[in-house]
Structure formats: C-alpha cells, structure tokens
C-alpha cells in the first residue's frame, strides 16, 4: 500500500483512538472532587503531558503561520480580539463590582455551578479542556503541508 494511502487510513484511526482516550480521562477527572489530591494529580498529569508534548514537538525557533494573502481578510483576527477583550472586560466588571457573586457571576462561578449540577456536564467541560490542549500542541507543530492545505503560509 502506498505511504499516502496508509497515512490516510492511519489518521482517522489515530484520531478515533485519541478521542476515546481523552473521553475516558475526562470521565475520570470529572469524577474527582475539586480541592482533593486525585483532582490535583489528574489535572497536573494532563498539564505535564501537554507541556511535554509541546516541548518535544514544537520547534525551538518556529515560523509564524499566517493566512495566505489571497484568502486573508483585511483584519483577520480583529473579530476574535474584540471578543476576547469583551470577555476580559466583563469578567473584570463582574469580579470588581460590589455585591454577591450570584448577582454578579464570573466565568469561574458559572463553571462551578455548571460542574456541581451534573458530573456529565463536568465531563464535557473536562473533555473540551483536554481536547483544546491537544489542539494547541497540534497547532504549534510545524506541519507545514497540513497547514498549507488550510491556506496558511510561513510569515
């Protein structure tokens, strides 16, 4: 079987396997209680794993991946920067304003309520966090051909 065809088969299998592993780990992490040793250890293991993978896979001197000129909007990141600014600003307002936390919810207090409500919802949040960690590692890996497929070019 040609290499390209073999890689084409391996990629979905590897992706499915990683989703199963992440889902299992998320269920395990969601079953722990915050402020307990198991919660600290499982969260720390995930953080150490992502930092280790990033250290191994990321180049010491990366080439910034930009969007190809032909596809680039005038201000490609502006919408997301404005959104992040809005979130930070409102989070600060909620955090600093006087009054009860229930009247002025922060992202953390909403997440705590979300986690307390149901272990299943907490598992979804854990999975999303773990998945984002793997996405960050993949994004920083200089797979130029994969990025180029999506219209990215080195700056």
């Amino acid at each position: 079987m040609p290499d390209a065809a073999r890689r084409g088969l391996e990629r979905p299998v590897a992706r499915a396997a990683s989703i199963v592993v992440l889902a299992g780990y998320a269920l395990w992490l969601a079953a722990t209680t915050p402020f307990s040793s198991p919660a600290n250890i499982l969260t720390a293991i995930a953080i150490v794993a992502v930092v280790t993978m990033a250290t191994i896979r990321w180049p010491a001197h990366p080439t910034r991946m930009m969007i190809a000129e032909a596809e680039r909007p005038r201000h490609p990141y502006l919408g997301w920067v404005v959104l992040a600014g809005l979130i930070v600003a409102w989070e600060l307002v909620m955090y600093l304003v006087r009054g009860s936390r229930s009247a002025h919810p922060t992202l953390s207090s909403m997440a705590d309520a979300f986690d307390r409500y149901d272990d299943g919802l907490k598992a979804v949040a854990c999975f999303a966090w773990l998945w984002l960690g793997t996405a960050i590692v993949r994004a920083g890996t200089q797979a130029t051909t994969r990025a180029a497929d999506r219209g990215a070019v080195p700056s």
Binding site: P34, F35, N40, R64, P76, W80, A139
Partner: protein, 67 residues
C-alpha cells in the same frame, strides 16, 4: 439586586462567539473573520505568544478542575 442583567450580557457575549464561529465557516464570513483554528495556529507558532497560550490553558484547567 437581580442577576438577570449580568447573565444577559454573558449570553450576548456567548451569542457573539457563536456568530463569529458560524461566520468564520461561511464563504462570505471568511472575508471578515478567520476560523478559530487559524487563530490558534497563529498563537501557537509565535515564539512569544505560544508561552502564555499554554500557561493560560494550564491555568484554566487547574482553576476549574483542581485548585
């Protein structure tokens, strides 16, 4: 004091995030905003921004699930 205005603003911000995400996946919207994956790739391949990106991700997990 009622919490409704606070939640309403959070809901509005959430709706903006969803709208941006949907826009980034349409042909017309892509002329205005890039997909989240492109933002992540830009941050993760920047020699300076990739450090706060990983630290921020780690902090969020620690803050939400451990502490």
């Amino acid at each position: 004091m009622s919490s409704s205005p606070s939640y309403a603003v959070w809901a509005l911000i959430g709706a903006c995030a969803v709208a941006l995400w949907i826009a980034s996946r349409t042909v017309a919207g892509r002329r205005v905003v890039v997909r989240p994956a492109a933002v992540l790739r830009r941050l993760a391949t920047d020699p300076w921004l990739r450090v706060p990106l990983v630290l921020g991700w780690a902090w969020v997990g620690w803050h939400l699930f451990a502490r």
